[in-house]
């Protein structure tokens, strides 16, 4: 689960699954990377998009063949977590996670944190459950949805133990929406849509909302979406956002994913 006082980079994947496999393979291992199964990706592939991303990550980590223990051990030592080796060699990795033998920090590197960008608007239960079943740790709901839907979404996420992201795309007063909810979401996304950005250059990311929301609600993490350059992504994180979401940057230049990720992780803490 996400921690406070940590800067995360959320990478939204929207290309074909084949291209995504290559990009994931290039990504550095870090518990500060959040992987987003993008909204068009889910509409194309359904929840298979989530389970595929999870498989790509495991293959990256464990190699294509699970039995290849020497590769696993090598990678674990590189990460400075050799004690994991015994647990893995002895067998049931997942059982060890459930029994708390692997710390959350270590398991975060091995287990990708995947956000399913469902953008729920109504009747969220089925989709949220399906996303969790496919391996998502979080799902998104629209701040534009009826309050009944947002309340039901947050409650459902709490019940099945995944993080709730509330996407404030096109919401004029995010603060007002939050004040009407029964329970707060884990993350609030301040968002400028792709179509908006392309057709209306004047619309800005509402950075000024970050302080106001964080000043009132201690536990909410803020994600800022829509940055087009590494610089803009870093500015977002210095504006006190906890999560910076990049989309265009990586999907238009998949070959630069390593550089972009390393630059962000290096410049933010």
């Amino acid at each position: 689960m996400l921690k406070r006082n940590t800067k995360y980079l959320q990478i939204a994947f929207n290309r074909s699954l084949g291209e995504i496999a290559k990009m994931i393979n290039l990504l550095p291992l870090s518990d500060r990377i959040i992987i987003e199964a993008g909204y068009p990706l889910i509409k194309n592939y359904g929840t298979d998009a989530i389970s595929s991303i999870r498989d790509f990550w495991y293959q990256k980590f464990f190699g294509p063949q699970e039995k290849n223990l020497s590769t696993k051990s090598f990678k674990l030592e590189m990460l400075g977590i050799p004690d994991l080796k015994d647990l893995l060699v002895k067998g049931d990795y997942f059982k060890n996670i459930f029994q708390g033998k692997i710390s959350p920090q270590k398991s975060a590197v091995i287990d990708p944190y995947i956000v399913a960008d469902l953008k729920c608007m109504d009747r969220a239960f089925t989709e949220v459950e399906a996303a969790k079943g496919a391996g998502a740790q979080a799902a998104t709901c629209l701040g534009l949805a009826p309050l009944e839907t947002i309340d039901a979404f947050i409650e459902k996420c709490e019940e099945i133990k995944i993080d709730s992201f509330l996407d404030m795309l096109n919401v004029e007063y995010p603060f007002e929406v939050l004040s009407k909810l029964k329970n707060l979401p884990k993350v609030v996304m301040l968002h400028r849509g792709v179509d908006e950005r392309e057709d209306n250059k004047d619309k800005e990311i509402p950075y000024h909302q970050i302080e106001r929301i964080k000043g009132t609600y201690d536990d909410i993490l803020i994600a800022v979406a829509g940055g087009e350059t590494v610089r803009e992504a870093i500015t977002g994180s210095f504006n006190d956002a906890d999560i910076v979401i990049v989309w265009k940057l990586v999907n238009e230049n998949p070959e630069n994913i390593v550089e972009i990720t390393k630059e962000f992780l290096g410049e933010t803490k």
């Binding site: 194309n44 929840t47 953008k119």
Partner: protein, 216 residues
């Protein structure tokens, strides 16, 4: 526009599993007045194959309930390529997205449907667009219906919209025969039902016929 004016349609929304949806589609009577909606949960869970698998079964008019809120061009491309005749966009989406949605639907030769769920003043929302969509959906959400029993379908909006725009009007969110009748009495062109068609039963075919009888 593919749909015809001065005709009343029954839209059956499929929201359960893909297998269940296929079973239901197989039982439905074929009629040009029956529209099949591939519901949002089906698209989110199975992706575009939910549309193409149903397309392969029947020649019916298919509505892909994409509930587009951003990246309109990609949604339309996906829906049209999978065999849908219409896609949906949210009325609460940024105006840039809705404009792009309507324009791209027209280019792709499919009908544009704008869903007014949670839009307080649909007439003003429509006035802010460059061009009106083919269909406007008046919608009370499932969660709203379940958790706020007093929320009514805003039937009064039908004539308000029809007096101002040359669009077809679709009503979603009412599932009883009584609500279907009220929609038609209030000049709706399309009535969307889903609850009775969540699972395939022996009565599926007769139910569809019964609803069709009410919608003339």
């Amino acid at each position: 526009m593919i749909l015809k004016r001065n005709r009343k349609y029954l839209q059956i929304a499929l929201n359960s599993t893909l297998n269940e949806a296929i079973e239901i589609v197989r039982k439905l009577p074929f009629s040009e007045r029956v529209l099949i909606e591939v519901g949002t949960p089906l698209i989110r869970i199975y992706g575009k194959r939910a549309i193409s698998e149903i397309r392969a079964l029947v020649p019916s008019y298919i509505v892909a309930d994409t509930k587009c809120v951003d990246l309109a061009s990609r949604d339309i491309k996906m829906a049209a390529a999978s065999g849908a005749q219409a896609a949906t966009c949210l009325g609460v989406a940024p105006v840039e997205t809705i404009n792009r949605f309507i324009k791209d639907c027209h280019k792709a030769g499919i009908d544009s449907m704008v869903d007014m769920m949670n839009v307080k003043d649909p007439v003003s929302a429509l006035k802010s667009l460059e061009k009106a969509p083919d269909v406007v959906i008046i919608h009370r959400g499932v969660d709203e219906t379940e958790f706020s029993k007093d929320k009514q379908i805003p039937f009064y909006q039908i004539n308000e919209i029809k007096n101002n725009f040359d669009v077809l009007l679709s009503v979603a969110g009412g599932d009883t025969i009584d609500e279907v009748q009220r929609s038609i009495l209030n000049s709706a062109d399309i009535v969307v039902v889903w609850k009775d068609f969540y699972q395939s039963t022996d009565e599926t075919k007769d139910l569809a016929k019964e609803f069709l009888k009410e919608i003339r």
